[in-house]
Symmetry: C2
Amino acid sequence: MHLYSKEDTIVALATPAGVGALGVVRLSGRHAVEIAQKFCKKKIAGKDSLLFFAKLAYPDTENILDEAMVSVYFAPRSFTGEDIVEFCCHGSSFILKELLRLILEAGARLAQAGEFTQRAFLNGRMDLAQAEGVADLIASDSSASHRLAMTQMRGGFSDKIKQMREDLIRLAALLELELDFAEEDVEFANRQELYTQNTQLAYAIEQLIGSYKLGNVMKHGFPVAIVGKPNAGKSTLLNALLDEDRAIVSSIAGTTRDTIEEQKNIGGIRFRFIDTAGLRETEDVIEKLGIERTLKKIQEAQLILYLFDMQDFSLEDLEEAKIQLEAYQIPYYFVGNKTDLLSEDSLKTWANIPQLMSISAQNKADIKALEAMLLTHIDQTPDHESQIILSNARHLSCLQNTLKALHTVRNTLDARLSTELIASDLREAVYHLGEIVGEITNNDLLDFIFSKFCIGK
Amino acid sequence: MHLYSKEDTIVALATPAGVGALGVVRLSGRHAVEIAQKFCKKKIAGKDSLLFFAKLAYPDTENILDEAMVSVYFAPRSFTGEDIVEFCCHGSSFILKELLRLILEAGARLAQAGEFTQRAFLNGRMDLAQAEGVADLIASDSSASHRLAMTQMRGGFSDKIKQMREDLIRLAALLELELDFAEEDVEFANRQELYTQNTQLAYAIEQLIGSYKLGNVMKHGFPVAIVGKPNAGKSTLLNALLDEDRAIVSSIAGTTRDTIEEQKNIGGIRFRFIDTAGLRETEDVIEKLGIERTLKKIQEAQLILYLFDMQDFSLEDLEEAKIQLEAYQIPYYFVGNKTDLLSEDSLKTWANIPQLMSISAQNKADIKALEAMLLTHIDQTPDHESQIILSNARHLSCLQNTLKALHTVRNTLDARLSTELIASDLREAVYHLGEIVGEITNNDLLDFIFSKFCIGK
């Protein structure tokens, strides 16, 4: 039983609060048209969607609240699958509040966060992964996160999951059939074929799970730690990288004093640059604690840029740094700074060293080359233009559970154990795949998913 | 010559920035449909307004930016009188920014503040006073300011001004005719009738000018100063008045330490309560400065509530306060506080004193009666439900200039001066009335008016 009835007609402001030319109030449910008709001075009738200009008046009066564009979508051909009326009003907070108040008085109730999309899901207008894609789409802030969310919302991801699930259901059905005829000891499902298909599916799911790291990067940004000794030019590099995006940067709160994290969109991917305090040997207890924190922060990075001042750095220093860096088990690049202050001869010292590039952070020289290198690093992961990429932690968890069940199936097959056991594990795999697209669901899960939406969606 | 060409196709985000379910991008101009067609995967054609669901893709690709509801309004039957396309997108800042960028690249330019409404005016879809009503409507934040703006936007105010202007033009035309036949010494315009009509018009304009004080109150709120000795209970009264609106109150910035101003919507009228520091005789130079500032603040009020503690206040104190209050030349009421602490007998002392009411701010007793009294005070001004009320400072100035011209006409008539002079003054009156509705205008004025709009309107 849902806390909030699906039978209610729900209403919410669908546009952000604040000053704007327009504000949209959205009404959905079986009484949407009837309620709208109480304010709307034009007769709403028809089967196809409507768009018209109308006066909205206080009920039973000629007291005009607003002149608005009204859109009407009739069930089932609407976003929610129910009748929807949208009032596109003048962006006055007074008008929007009054309209909401009047609609509530007329019998609607305020929508919960994500309740419109939840109804779209419950009415079969989209599956659960697609619904989650809607929220991701709204939250998207780079072309990479946008592309992921769009694929998910449009069903590309769901199609792949559903195909896998159908394959599993077909296998499971054959096994169930065997169980029905258990006394006759027949094998409808060829065990070798079952083994092969199971392995193929497990491989496909492993691939998807493997794409999560990239998906997470595309969704939340790619963390790059900038490390190096004090005065290597780390802050100058950060400034050079951020350049024209300075204003956006200054609005990011929660930066700590010891490690500064700032973001930049490079080639459609969001990079999160973590500027760390210079690391050095120290006996000071407090400084040690600070360095510990920095080291922990570095662990969260997926790439390290080790910046050094080429003027006072030797090849021996480089070897020593390499040993330190290897300990992190995170990919790293060396970045030699201050080319502007170096002679041709000195520059030659640093040529041909692998995983090293030279820049001048001060003069913003070769910063573009550094950015290109960062993008190339990400592109070394599988081709993500065409591939389906996992980006949702809930889906990851479902796929991991599916994979676990498939591994058990394989072990059971290896051990030539009973059909019942295999069938049971296959059923579990089907179940977990079903959770992703919402074939299998429960109210707690739905409440959890949709509570992360914004009101009005 | 306008700084910004009317020939351009303009685009803007019409909804507030921030997180919401929807965001609307509005495109207007002769190339609106052509530009929209570059992204919109459905063919836009027709004469009547359209509403349809469509994929928006990056031009010449299948790379989907969003799935949106698209509204199309064809010239001249649109808000601006031009072709308009509105994209109702998912409320992702990335999508909205990308769509704006793509539309700009396709040849539109960003709209200036109020430019859509300015085009509506220039294309004859509304007059200037109506256009100003649109901005007032968006800014409205109480039912009084909303009602004023709605009347103005819907043309009620303009109709009145236009009627006056037509009357003046008819009179002026007769005089112009006389001038054409000047040598024949005929009188087409009966001087007595001219005098009467001139007087009637001047009276009507005086009425309108007189309504400005109320209009200004309805638009910007009614300022009430709460004065009294320290510990009379002024802050407690303010809290009692604000009650459930506390949250809104706390968001108002710019309150000074010596005088606190807070707002409350009572019966659809916004009241601005000014809580003043207790006034007392002092020799302290700094305190004197503070009190001076308080006194100045009181001058801005349109009503004074003089609050006193009935426990330690005598009828003589009341007389003394009365003398002080009369000096302000602002209407005032006495409010006796702390009824909860007074005996029946003591209460009788204060009965039957005119312009005095008793409350208990602490117990919130009789606060509703106090509010009713405030509303009654405002309602003593002419019936503003049916009346046209002036609320715009620019209109006030135009009407004052009109009135001045009409007075000159009367004086010229009195002095039996030449027809040329009367005609010239009438022409001036016609001119100033024309400024209000925009029959007479200039680019500086338009720029000034529309620059106060928000972008996207």
